[in-house]
Symmetry: C2
Subunit: 280 residues, 2 copies
């Protein structure tokens, strides 16, 4: 296990329906409570040991602070290729996925001996310190329909899940800056998120998750007009939709967006957390 090689990990996408922000002076215990869906559309991350670190996202050289922080954490340099099924900056957890995929793949590529919880913590801390997210990494490490019951990395945070699997449709109208929201005043947002979590934990079903998410978007004052229009259109057709936090994006269960006349991307909830690929 000490030779160096190329390794690839798959990380599911993650849309958050509602959340509350919880900051401490330690990034491992900083995080969010909330809930959302992990998606079969996700991110493949390939790590190859190299003299200098370079990151490519869908074929383009980019700076990705969470990825670079993960590599700093393992004390290595590598060529990292991130291939995403999902739009970037639109609320699908691509930065968290890139960080977590880099952690998993680099452990294998460099013959490391960290446990999965350690690698999830490394990626969570990288994401929190970079200001790109608070809860995607732990949700993406779990899979399914994660409920973030307590914030933070494994050993501190606690997760549960809604026992459900479903077709998911989504459309995006553009980016929304995660740092602008989560590094600003989150008092109102957190109050709305805590209320939603209480309701979901009392009845952990998909319809409740979707309803709580819609109420959160309004209560936290995050709803943008194109998103509101799409959610209303889905509801008029009897479907269930909500806003992906944080992006100008809408996700629906079943055929909600198609029924409302949109041309959505289609995937499913993903039963598995992030995992290594193809080591047979």
């Amino acid at each position: 296990m000490t030779e160096q090689s190329t390794a690839t990990a798959f990380v599911p996408g993650h849309v958050t329906g509602f959340f509350s922000a919880h900051r401490t002076d330690d990034p491992a215990t900083t995080g969010s409570r909330g809930a959302g869906l992990t998606l079969s559309d996700g991110v493949r991350v390939t790590v190859t040991p190299a003299e200098r670190t370079r990151v490519a996202l869908d074929g383009q050289r980019v700076e990705m602070a969470p990825v670079e922080r993960v590599l700093d954490g393992v004390g290595q340099t590598a060529s990292v290729t991130v291939d995403s099924d999902l739009p970037v900056g639109a609320g699908f957890g691509v930065s968290g996925a890139a960080a977590l995929g880099t952690a998993l793949a680099s452990n294998t590529a460099f013959g490391g001996a960290r446990s999965e919880n350690d690698l999830v913590e490394l990626a969570h801390v990288a994401e929190v310190v970079s200001g790109t997210g608070l809860g995607d990494v732990v949700a993406q490490a779990r899979g399914g329909v994660p409920i973030r019951v307590e914030p933070g990395a494994p050993g501190v945070g606690e997760l549960d899940g809604v026992p459900a699997s479903t077709r998911v449709e989504y459309v995006t109208f553009g980016e929304l800056s995660t740092p602008d929201v989560i590094e600003g005043d989150t008092t109102r947002l957190t109050r709305a998120g805590e209320t939603a979590l209480e309701q979901l934990r009392a009845e952990p079903t998909l319809p409740t998750l979707m309803r709580c998410s819609r109420q959160f978007a309004v209560g936290a004052d995050l709803l943008v007009s194109e998103v509101e229009t799409a959610i209303d259109a889905v509801q008029e057709e009897g479907g269930e939709a909500a806003m992906a936090m944080l992006g100008r994006s809408v996700f629906a269960v079943g055929t909600g967006l198609s029924d409302a006349g949109y041309d959505p991307a289609v995937c499913e909830t993903y039963p598995s957390g992030a995992h290594l690929c193809g080591q047979r």
Copy 2:
């Protein structure tokens, strides 16, 4: 979500390589520490509401105490169909899988509103009270290569994982009674299991897991002759194999058993925990 319908869940198989037994006066906090592999060969459980509870395993009417206890726990009666890729009573966690699959599928079939952690606890308690296992359920709910760091149901127990995926081969030479072992004197077994866990946590890799498992089988005095012969044969070919606890079974990573001239069943580690199927 209140109408009644048929629902199906898939639960991966689970071979334990080593374990220690931890009993309290509460089945939710009773359990085992240890580690093993979850398998893409597993168990499909279909639950259909019915006047009286009936359980069929691979087409045969059977009594399965853990399944019946789960249904008692949800206060329902149902026809339960258990289809297993794996041999029963041979150390592959079929009873735990049947209990966990029944919990997940019955929640959907009866329009229940329990969270995943609650359903895992229900199945874990049913398995512990039935004397059929101590740690398969929580491992099967997680997927991957689970390390049971602290014993017990979610909220009490703690899990980590070895970040690895691999082809797995297995052969079985017959049954070994789980109750006979785990309800007897487990002092020696637990001492060997705790030592193995300490070593694996210091270096959470597959080769370490396999080596600790072999040492455990000897230290706990559980090795049976056909199993010992097969493990030795795999090692002579440079492979890695260990005994499935608790069964007269051997599992190997990669092509270990084929290389040694056996005709094994072949599957892979399973990245996902137990999940509902086919609700599109």
